[in-house]
C-alpha cells in the first residue's frame, strides 16, 4: 500500500504500473475497495453488536453473569407486564404526536423558502438547520429552563400577573416531551419537505392557474400531492429517532413522561438486567423496521397511483 500512499512521483508515466492503475482497470474492485473501510466500521460497530444483542435477548440473568440457555422469557415479559407495554405505547403516541406536529408546522416554512424566497435562499436553509447541529443535550436543557416550575414561562407569567401560581403541568409531562421533540427535530422535517417542494415543476402550477384553478385548489391538486414524498420521508426521519429518544423524556418527562428509551437504559444501568434490556431494544428495533416497511409501502403505492 505504501507505494500509493504518496502522490506518484512525476505522475505521468509511473501511474500506469502502480496498484492504483491496476484498480483503475477494475472499477468494481476499486469501488468495493474504497467502500471497504466504511463497511468494516459498520460491520464491527453496528452489525456484529446488533447480532450479539439479539443473542443476548434470548438469555436470562444468572447468578453471576448470564444464563445462556435460549429462552423467550424476556419477550414474554415484555408482552405481558403492563409497564413495558404501557411505556412502549406511550413512546409511540408521544413520538407520533411530536412527528405530526413537527411536519405540519414545518411544511409552511419549507413552502415559504421553496416558493417565496428568491435571494439568500441558502442563508434561510442554513438558519433553519443550524440549531440542529448544536448539542441536543443543551437544546433539551433549554426547554427545562423554559418549562420549569420556576422557569421562563411560569415566572414570566407570574411577574406579568397573568397567572396566580406556577403551572405545574408544564415540566415533567408528556406535553413537555412533545414540545421539546418537535422543536429539536424541526430541521429533520424542513430539509426533505423543502427538497420535494423545490423539485415541483413550476409550469404545472401555471398550467393549473391557466385552466382556472384558484390558489387553494392549485395547492391541494398539484403542490400537496407532489410533495407527498417529502412528507413521507420527514415523518419517517422524525418518528423513528424520537420513539427511542432517551434524553428528552429523562430530563423533561418525569415519571409520567418516561419512554421506552428510559426503560432500556434502566435495564443496562440500575436494574442491571442486560438480557431484558436487549429484548426491549430488539422490540424497539422490530417496531422501527415495521414502521419503515409500512412507510415505504405507503410511499410506493402513492407514487404508483399518482403516476
Amino acid at each position: 500500500m505504501s507505494s500509493i500512499a504518496e502522490p506518484a512521483p512525476g505522475g505521468v508515466l509511473s501511474g500506469a504500473r502502480s496498484p492504483g492503475a491496476w484498480f483503475y482497470r477494475r472499477p468494481a474492485v476499486a469501488g468495493y475497495a474504497l467502500l471497504s473501510p466504511a463497511m468494516a466500521i459498520m460491520l464491527v460497530g453496528v452489525l456484529l453488536p446488533v447480532l450479539i444483542l439479539v443473542a443476548m435477548s434470548f438469555w436470562t440473568r444468572g447468578g453471576i453473569g448470564f444464563d445462556t440457555t435460549p429462552t423467550l422469557d424476556n419477550y414474554r415479559k415484555a408482552a405481558e407486564e403492563p409497564i413495558y407495554l404501557a411505556l412502549l405505547l406511550r413512546s409511540f403516541w408521544v413520538a407520533g404526536i411530536a412527528t405530526v406536529a413537527t411536519v405540519a408546522l414545518c411544511y409552511p416554512m419549507a413552502y415559504y423558502v421553496a416558493f417565496h424566497v428568491h435571494r439568500h435562499k441558502m442563508l434561510w436553509i442554513i438558519l433553519m438547520t443550524l440549531p440542529f447541529w448544536t448539542s441536543y443535550l443543551l437544546r433539551v436543557f433549554a426547554w427545562k429552563v423554559i418549562l420549569g416550575y420556576e422557569g421562563v414561562i411560569n415566572s414570566g407569567f407570574l411577574s406579568l400577573g397573568l397567572i396566580a401560581e406556577p403551572l405545574a403541568f408544564l415540566l415533567y409531562s408528556p406535553t413537555a416531551v412533545i414540545i421539546t421533540l418537535a422543536h429539536a427535530w424541526a430541521a429533520f422535517a424542513i430539509l426533505p419537505l423543502y427538497v420535494s417542494l423545490e423539485k415541483i415543476d413550476r409550469s404545472l402550477l401555471e398550467a393549473a392557474t391557466d385552466l382556472g384553478d384558484g390558489p387553494a385548489r392549485r395547492f391541494f391538486r398539484i403542490t400537496l400531492p407532489l410533495s407527498v414524498p417529502g412528507i413521507v420521508s420527514a415523518t419517517f426521519l422524525i418518528f423513528i429517532p424520537t420513539t427511542g429518544d432517551y434524553i428528552t423524556p429523562a430530563l423533561l418527562g418525569g415519571p409520567d413522561g418516561a419512554m421506552i428509551g428510559n426503560l432500556i437504559q434502566l435495564q443496562f444501568g440500575p436494574v442491571n438486567n442486560w438480557p431484558m434490556g436487549a429484548a426491549l431494544s430488539i422490540v424497539l428495533m422490530l417496531w422501527i423496521a415495521l414502521t419503515g416497511f409500512v412507510f415505504l409501502y405507503l410511499a410506493r403505492t402513492f407514487r404508483e397511483r399518482s403516476a
Partner: protein, 272 residues
C-alpha cells in the same frame, strides 16, 4: 428563474409565519445565555442583575477542563477518521456502478435514523463480551458510527456536483489515478472535506448517548454537564458552560455549512 410571477408573488401571512418560526426556533436557546449572565442562582424572571461570575467560576474546575480535553481529543480523531472513510465511500458511490450499492448506502446512513440508544447498548454488549474495558477509545468507536453518515452525506453532493470529464481529461493526459485524485478531484471536493471535518467534529463533541453507555471514568464534556444537572446550585454554571459551547458550536457549524456550499451549484438553479 422568474423573479415575480403570479404564483410566487409575495404572501404576507406566510412571510410572517416564517419569521415567527425562526424566532421560535432560536429564542428557547437564547434563554441559556440570558440567564447565564443573571446574578440569581434561580432561573426565573424578573432578572436580578448582570454578572460574569458564573463564567469566572468555570475557570477553577479541573474536572470540567479534563472532560473538555477528552471531548476535543475524541472529536479530532473521530472527525478525521470519519471524513477520510467518508471521502473514500463517497467517491466509490458516485464514480462506480456497484451491485448492491444502494443497500450499502442505506446501511451506512442507518445510524442517522435509528435511535442512538440501540447502537449504544449493542456496542456496550459486544465490548463487554469481548472483555474490552470502556475508555475514550470505545467512545470514539461509538462516535465514528454516528459521524460516518454525516460525513458521507456532506461529501456526496460535492462529488455529484462536479463534472467527471475533468477526471477523464486528466486520465487521458496520462496522469495516474492517484495523482489525478490529488490534483483534480481533491481540490474540487476540498470545501466538502473541510465542511465534513467541522460538522463531524461538532457532532462528536456534542454527542451524549454513545458516551453515556460507552465511557468509563473519563467523562466527555456532555457527560460532565449531565452529571452537574443533578445539583440545583450548579444550574448557573451549567448555563454559563452551555452558553460557551452553544456559541462555539454555532460558529463552527455556520462556517461548515457556508464552506460546504462554496463553489457548489446554487440550490435555486434548477436543471432546465
Amino acid at each position: 428563474m422568474r423573479e415575480t410571477s403570479y404564483i410566487t408573488r409575495p404572501n404576507l401571512p406566510l412571510r410572517v409565519y416564517a419569521w415567527v418560526f425562526l424566532t421560535v426556533l432560536y429564542v428557547p436557546i437564547l434563554f441559556i445565555p440570558l440567564f447565564a449572565f443573571n446574578t440569581s442562582i434561580y432561573v426565573r424572571f424578573p432578572l436580578e442583575g448582570f454578572t460574569t461570575q458564573w463564567f469566572a467560576a468555570l475557570m477553577g474546575r479541573a474536572q470540567l477542563w479534563d472532560s473538555l480535553w477528552n471531548s476535543v481529543r475524541v472529536a479530532v480523531v473521530v472527525s478525521v477518521l470519519s471524513t477520510a472513510v467518508g471521502l473514500m465511500a463517497a467517491r466509490a458511490i458516485t464514480r462506480r456502478r456497484l451491485p448492491g450499492q444502494s443497500a450499502i448506502v442505506a446501511f451506512i446512513m442507518l445510524p442517522l435514523v435509528v435511535p442512538g440508544i440501540i447502537f449504544g447498548v449493542a456496542l456496550l454488549v459486544l465490548l463487554s463480551r469481548l472483555g474490552v474495558p470502556l475508555s475514550l477509545y470505545t467512545v470514539a468507536i461509538g462516535h465514528l458510527i454516528v459521524c460516518l453518515p454525516f460525513a458521507v452525506a456532506t461529501l456526496l453532493p460535492r462529488f455529484e456536483g462536479f463534472d467527471v470529464s475533468m477526471e477523464e481529461a486528466s486520465a487521458d493526459l496520462g496522469v495516474g489515478p492517484w495523482a489525478t485524485f490529488w490534483r483534480v478531484t481533491f481540490p474540487i471536493v476540498l470545501p466538502g472535506v473541510v465542511s465534513s471535518l467541522l460538522l463531524t467534529f461538532t457532532v462528536s463533541f456534542d454527542e451524549f448517548i454513545m458516551a453515556f453507555f460507552l465511557s468509563s471514568t473519563d467523562a466527555t464534556l456532555p457527560m460532565y454537564i449531565w452529571s452537574q444537572l443533578r445539583f440545583p446550585r450548579e444550574f448557573p454554571s451549567v448555563l454559563a458552560l452551555a452558553s460557551l459551547i452553544l456559541g462555539a458550536s454555532f460558529l463552527l457549524v455556520f462556517a461548515a455549512l457556508a464552506i460546504g456550499r462554496m463553489g457548489a451549484r446554487r440550490p435555486d438553479a434548477r436543471a432546465p
